[in-house]
């Protein structure tokens, strides 16, 4: 802008004469007035422009000549114009005015924002004027507004951003939490999986290019006996008994893995210590397209399982053997049909061929169709009730024959009879006869006991009688000896001796029979004079028994020497003759004949006594046996038993003929030389 001309000092003086300024200062003021970028105007008390500076004119876009002398209202804001008088009054009040913002009107009607400040001054002559300064704050206002807008905008943006960020942070926090939680879950899952893998009873391995990437402890430590983890990175060849085995498995397995299939086999593997064991191995590729890149293998030690399998097979075959070798029929029946039968039942008991019963109805095994129909409901009721059914009934064989059996059934589950029933069948016909045998054996034993107790009481009786004789004889001699005649005493003494002899003989008989039954009797043949021995024996008997019968003895073909056991002969002949004496009346006769012919000695002893009842004859030679007709006659029942034993020892035989109340005849035949044997 062109510099305004130098203001007139006088005009300036006319305005500002309050202060008497120096000329330099006046010029300075003038310059400032003209050049300042502040609009300055002076208004008189009527509100007319008195002075205006160039900038003010620039601001309001008026020429100075358009302003001077005109009323301020052309530029003032409308509301100030409205309160004209009040404004002027206020304007010229002495109090300083605070700068205010006004919208000033330009010449073209547009408004600009201005900071207006007022200062009333008083001229020397008393006239008051107001100095009004204007600064266009439009721009600064705009700028301010802009700044404010920008501020607001910025704040908004900040708020938005903050909002965004808060949300974002919240999201991130949430995401972080979620991440942490899922990491925890992952850790847990990982720990679980690791635990599973490590505690697995099977060995698990991850291979890459047939090298061990990872395996669980079960595999390296337990199965193979290596220190845990020591084989990582090694080729799996170490597990195989030989390189050939390693390569063979590779050749078999990997093509299958490449097809996406599982490879399984049972193979022998080698432990760390070199021992071999059977192993079940199963492998699969992680990616079938590239099995070498990764494959998972499972290994199980089946050594014990194989052992178990073997044991199971053994047990099963044992069981089978037991079932099949049973001595009773066993059948599994379902819905009244044979499902399984053991061999004994099918073939032995019922006479079918192998496989002839399975699948058939059990009807054909019943004794009758009526029985089949009748028993059915009863069996089912009982089985459902107790689970058990038993009956004796007729069973039919294939050929139609029937026989009595004990049939027992046990339901597999009594709550569900359709599962079937196990039947056992026992042939009663055999058992019945076994029972009969048992009854017989018991009866025999009872009889034996009776015989023995009879023997005991009889023996007791047999000893008491001679003892009574001895005692009474001695007492007579001792207490009444002085009153007895001599011959009486002699007789008494003889009686004592006889009694003693009788008891002694009995003891010997008992001991003899005991020895012979214990197998300790011996056969000792010597050359003997048969005739004199027999005569001696007969004499002894006559003496011992005080026999009153006439005993006649005859010989035929007897030589001086025969090979015989004299003691056994004494037992035989002595007992037979003694019996003849005991069991025949005193007035009868007893005949003894001794014959020898064709290497055999034949002894016959015949009496005419009470005879032997027919019923007793079969058991005549049994120990302790006594005929029913001799209970009054002293005897132990041992005599004939001894005779028979002695005859047997001599290799001979004995026969008897007897008619009750008429007489008895015994015939003994013994071979002469050799013959006999040790008892």
């Amino acid at each position: 802008m062109r510099l305004p001309r130098r203001p007139n000092r006088s005009s300036f003086n006319r305005i500002f004469s309050v202060v008497d300024l120096d000329q330099l200062d006046l010029d300075l003021f003038a310059t400032v007035f003209d050049v300042a970028r502040i609009g300055i105007c002076v208004i008189d008390q009527e509100g007319r422009f008195v002075r205006v500076n160039p900038f003010f004119c620039e601001l309001v876009r008026h020429r100075p000549e358009d302003l001077l002398g005109r009323h301020y209202s052309m530029s003032a804001p409308p509301d100030i114009v409205a309160i004209k008088d009040k404004f002027l009054a206020a304007l010229f009040a002495d109090s300083p005015k605070v700068p205010t913002e006004w919208g000033i009107r330009r010449s073209d009607g547009s408004i600009f924002d201005s900071l207006v400040s007022f200062r009333p001054i008083t001229r020397v002559d008393g006239r008051k004027f107001a100095v009004v300064t204007f600064s266009d704050i439009g721009e600064s206002k705009r700028a301010q507004a802009q700044i404010e807008a920008l501020n607001r905008d910025l704040e908004q943006r900040i708020a938005d951003r903050t909002g965004e960020l808060t949300t974002k942070v919240a999201e991130l926090t949430a995401a972080e939490d979620a991440l942490r939680r899922s990491e925890e879950r992952l850790q847990t899952a990982l720990a679980e999986k690791t635990a599973i893998l490590e505690n697995s009873v099977v060995g698990i391995a991850l291979l890459r290019n047939r090298r061990l990437e990872w395996c669980n402890r079960t595999l390296d430590e337990q199965l193979f006996g290596y220190p845990g983890g020591s084989l990582t990175g090694h080729t799996t060849e170490v597990f195989y008994p030989s390189r050939e085995d390693y390569e063979r498995l590779g050749t078999e397995a990997y093509p299958l893995l490449a097809q996406g299939r599982i490879y399984e086999t049972r193979v022998r593997m080698k432990r760390c210590d070199g021992s071999l064991f059977w192993c079940f191995i199963s492998g699969r590729a992680i990616q079938p397209a590239d099995p070498d890149a990764g494959s998972i293998w499972v290994l199980i030690d089946i050594t014990s399982r194989r052992q178990l399998e073997q044991e199971l097979r053994n047990t099963l075959s044992e069981r089978e053997a037991i079932l099949q070798s049973s001595v009773m029929g066993i059948a599994l029946v379902r819905n009244r049909q044979y499902v399984w039968v053991n061999k004994y039942f099918e073939q032995d008991m019922l006479g079918y061929e192998e496989g002839g019963l399975v699948g058939q109805s059990v009807r054909q095994s019943y004794g009758s169709d009526e029985a089949f129909d009748e028993l059915g409901p009863a069996i089912n009721r009982q089985l459902a009730d107790t689970g058990f059914f038993q009956t004796e009934g007729r069973v039919r064989r294939k050929d139609g024959a029937t026989f009595w059996c004990l049939v027992s059934g046990r339901a597999i589950d009594r709550r569900d009879l359709t599962l079937g029933t196990i039947w056992t069948v026992v042939d009663l016909s055999q058992r019945k006869s076994a029972e009969a045998e048992l009854v017989q054996a018991l009866a025999r034993e009872k009889e034996l006991n009776e015989i023995k107790s009879r023997f005991v009481s009889m023996t007791s009786h047999e000893f008491r009688t001679p003892l009574a004789t001895i005692l009474s004889s001695i007492e007579l001699i001792a207490d009444y000896g002085d009153r007895l005649r001599a011959h009486e005493k002699t007789d008494l003494i003889e009686g004592i001796k006889a009694a003693v002899r009788r008891m002694t003989r009995m003891l010997e008989d008992i001991l003899l029979i005991g020895r012979s039954e214990a197998g300790r009797l011996e056969f000792r043949p010597h050359r003997i004079d048969l005739r004199s021995v027999c005569e001696r024996i007969v004499g002894e008997v006559r003496n011992a028994t005080q026999a009153q019968q006439a005993i006649r003895i005859g010989f035929d073909g007897v030589t001086l020497e025969h090979m015989l056991d004299e003691e056994l002969l004494r037992h035989i002949l002595g007992n037979l003759v003694t019996n003849a004496v005991k069991y025949s009346p005193p007035e009868s006769a007893i005949d003894v004949s001794v014959g020898c012919a064709r290497g055999e000695i034949v002894l016959v002893v015949e009496d005419h006594g009470i005879g032997i009842p027919v019923e007793d004859q079969p058991r005549l030679f049994e120990t302790f046996h006594r005929g029913r007709n001799v209970s009054h006659i002293a005897g132990t029942g041992l005599g004939l038993a001894i005779v028979r034993k002695s005859v047997e020892l001599h290799g001979g035989r004995i026969a008897v003929r007897s008619v009750p109340d008429q007489g008895t005849e015994f015939t003994v035949t013994i071979p002469e030389i050799g013959g006999g044997f040790h008892a």
């Binding site: 009481s457 008491r464 009574a468 004889s473 007492e475 007579l476 006659i633």
Partner: protein, 126 residues
């Protein structure tokens, strides 16, 4: 003098006890079997009977039963003297009406005591 009937199957025992009783002052009747003994008991009415148990034909039990049909135990004392050693039979025999039951071998003094118990020491009872 008191009369004793002795029924005994064994000859030696019969002889010895008959001798003893005679030496002790009793009148002795003897029989070697039950039938003879019973007949003697009925015909000669002894004061006491000593009887064996096991005898052929009629045994001691039968003799007792027959006598007890006619004579009470007080009227005719009856003592068994047997080699059957079954002491448990004693009670049964007593229940049947026997006055006593002795088991052989028996010492004389015991026998005499048994007789005295039935007849009273000395004197007749009838």
């Amino acid at each position: 003098m008191r009369r004793i009937l002795l029924i005994e199957n064994d000859t030696a025992i019969l002889a010895n006890f008959a001798r003893l009783l005679a030496l002790e002052g009793y009148e002795v009747l003897t029989a070697s079997n039950g039938v003879d003994g019973l007949a003697l008991a009925r015909s000669r009415t002894p004061d006491l009977i000593l009887c064996d148990l096991r005898m052929p034909g009629m045994d001691g039990d039968a003799v007792l039963a027959a006598l007890r049909a006619d004579y009470t135990a007080t009227a005719l004392p009856f003592i068994f003297m047997t080699a059957s050693a079954d002491h448990s039979e004693r009670a049964a025999r007593l229940a049947q009406g026997a006055n006593d039951y002795l088991v052989k071998p028996i010492e004389f003094r015991l026998l005499l005591q048994a007789i005295d118990r039935q007849l009273g020491a000395g004197g007749t009872h009838r």
